[in-house]
């Protein structure tokens, strides 16, 4: 069905909301840098910064590609559930090992 909005209208409607989100992300990374060890190699933060490359690459379907970057791409069931929850990203080296 496409979007009825012009680019100008999209900017008018959403700029301030996403300006705030970019600042939140910048402040989060600043906070992470200021914090003490351990945790500098946290895989979730690595996954987050890796996703920024996709956000800025100018190619379409950024949201889909970011979600795929953070996803488990294995295809077989695991032996047993190690916990109830999920962490939000896979370690990047786990992707490289596959």
């Amino acid at each position: 069905m496409g979007t009825p909005l012009t680019k100008q209208a999209v900017a008018d409607l959403y700029f301030l909301e996403h300006r705030a989100k970019v600042l939140d992300l910048a402040a989060f990374l600043d906070r992470f840098d200021r914090a003490s060890e351990p945790g500098a190699d946290d895989f979730r933060v690595q996954a987050l910064t890796a996703a920024l490359g996709l956000v800025l690459d100018g190619q379409p379907e950024r949201a889909r590609r970011v979600l795929e970057l953070w996803s488990d791409h294995s295809t077989q069931p695991i032996e047993r559930a190690p916990m109830k929850g999920a962490l939000g990203a896979m370690p990047l080296d786990a992707r490289e090992r596959r």
Partner: protein
């Protein structure tokens, strides 16, 4: 006017029913889910199913909302296959209840072998009784893999994709679900699923056929008014009222009416 086809009202206050009614909610469906802790006995599920089939419909009716439900043991409790089988054995005793639409929300959580076993037994139960199926797909990094494992299991057991709704789709799973003939649901969650804005984007990119929105409001950070907020998002982008009605009323009604038990008023 709208239908919220996935909301866990056992976790919500009566005030939420009142607010939903004021926002135009006329009908809901409530899948069985994880209580935030593992229940220790099948009797605990029996009591939960009574709540879903007796107490909640009466509570919803006070506000003119028609309440329907789905029954199962949630994949988060599927590692204990023995308990899961006990729960599966009591589900048929509730199938005579006129507000039970089918089996759900079944699926996977961490994509384990035991979860797969329990999923397959739920699918078999649904097919045996000719019931609709509502599928929960895993969270976050587990969703992509789990969605494909679930679709394969449904296909291998001969489920008709037109009678299965695969829920919690996002940008990386919606296309595959629709292409394989299933219905798809987008859950509007503040942090961990789709926002109303992203759901509107997905409609714009993938169309409105066989696709609905729901709040999945529960005991966590969630919003039982998420569906009308997505309606508002579509409205402010300039989408037609027919489009908004299709995704928030017509589509859920069309899918759910296959049960022969779903009812929602034609007009407010």
């Amino acid at each position: 006017m709208y239908i919220d086809p996935h909301v866990h009202m056992v976790s919500r206050t009566t005030d939420d029913y009142q607010r939903m009614a004021l926002a135009g909610c006329v009908a809901i469906t409530e899948p069985a889910f994880w209580a935030g802790y593992d229940r220790s006995t099948a009797q605990g599920f029996h009591d939960y199913f009574r709540m879903l089939t007796d107490f909640e419909p009466r509570r919803a009716a006070q506000f003119g909302i028609r309440h329907h439900t789905w029954l199962c043991i949630n994949p988060k409790e599927s590692e204990d296959v023995g308990l899961a089988r006990e729960v599966l054995s009591i589900i048929p005793t509730f199938l005579e209840c006129k507000t039970v639409l089918g089996i759900g929300e079944i699926g996977l959580n961490k994509n384990s072998r035991n979860e797969m076993t329990v999923l397959e037994e739920h699918i078999a139960l649904a097919l045996k009784h000719n019931l609709l199926i509502l599928v929960h797909t895993p969270h976050l990094e587990d969703k992509l893999k789990g969605t494909h494992l679930i679709m394969d299991a449904l296909r291998n057991q001969g489920a008709d994709p037109g009678r299965v709704l695969i829920d919690h789709v996002e940008e990386h799973t919606v296309r595959a679900v629709l292409d394989r003939g299933f219905w798809a649901g987008m859950t509007l969650y503040p942090d961990t699923k789709c926002t109303p804005q992203r759901a509107a984007d997905i409609f714009e990119m993938h169309g409105t056929d066989r696709l609905w929105i729901n709040s999945a409001g529960d005991w966590g950070v969630s919003d039982p008014l998420a569906v009308p907020k997505c309606q508002d998002e579509l409205r402010r982008r300039g989408h037609l009222l027919e489009t908004i009605r299709k995704v928030s009323y017509d589509n859920p009604r069309t899918f759910l009416s296959q049960s022969g038990r779903f009812s929602a008023p034609d007009r407010a």
